[in-house]
Symmetry: C2
Subunit: 100 residues, 2 copies
DNA sequence: TTATATTTGCCAATATTTGACAAGTCAATA
DNA sequence: TATTGACTTGTCAAATATTGGCAAATATAA
């Protein structure tokens, strides 16, 4: 639970008036799995994000951002040093980028 | 490779003039494993961080922060949306904190 | 060469995540 | 209250990923 990505794709799906039963097969899974994904109990595969974005007529970048944010959140939730760790990580990312 | 945590504990170990062979048994592992951890090829278990901090006479919080930063980095490295995702995640963390 | 420290490669053991299915809840409505 | 449709939940084997342990390789110094 507590999944930004899951909440977002549920909202988008409902906005498109689509049922789980309609969307799930397009992602080659059953409704139970997609239901769990929307509730944050399972992870959508990274490479399926663009596919789902198209189905839901949404921005792939937006969904990818939320999906990544969920992964990060899973690492640091309940950590008292979460913010410090994020700062260090952010620095590393931007340094790596600069080197390219 | 590319592990802040690993680099740091190697530096600390060398500063204490300790060999892998001396430290590894205190963590109940062999030198090969600890070597890989220092090179970022394996992860130290989260619960072993305080133990290692004591051995190296270092700050447990500092090591924990670097360890967490490595986990975050593993998620977002190579992601063009890394920074956006970090911002979203950071917001979630601080909202969760506030609710407590 | 020998000795010591570290590294690397391999693979079985262990742990984690996923896929698939069945059974369950819930709400609407006949 | 029985039925239907949408969604949810639980279970568990299968698929994946990670780790532990060992042996061999490398490196450096004497």
């Amino acid at each position: 639970m507590n999944s930004q990505f899951g909440e977002r794709i549920r909202t988008l799906r409902e906005k498109q008036n689509l049922y789980l039963r309609q969307v799930a097969p397009l992602l080659e899974m059953d409704t139970a799995q997609l239901s769990k994904i929307e509730k944050g109990l399972r992870q959508l595969k990274r490479e399926q994000i663009p596919i789902l974005a198209e189905i839901l007529k949404a921005s792939s970048d937006e969904l990818m951002t939320l999906w990544l944010a969920d992964q990060i959140y899973a690492v640091v939730k309940d950590e008292k040093l979460a913010n410090e760790a994020m700062q260090v990580a952010e620095k590393n990312i931007n340094q790596t980028k600069r080197k390219k």
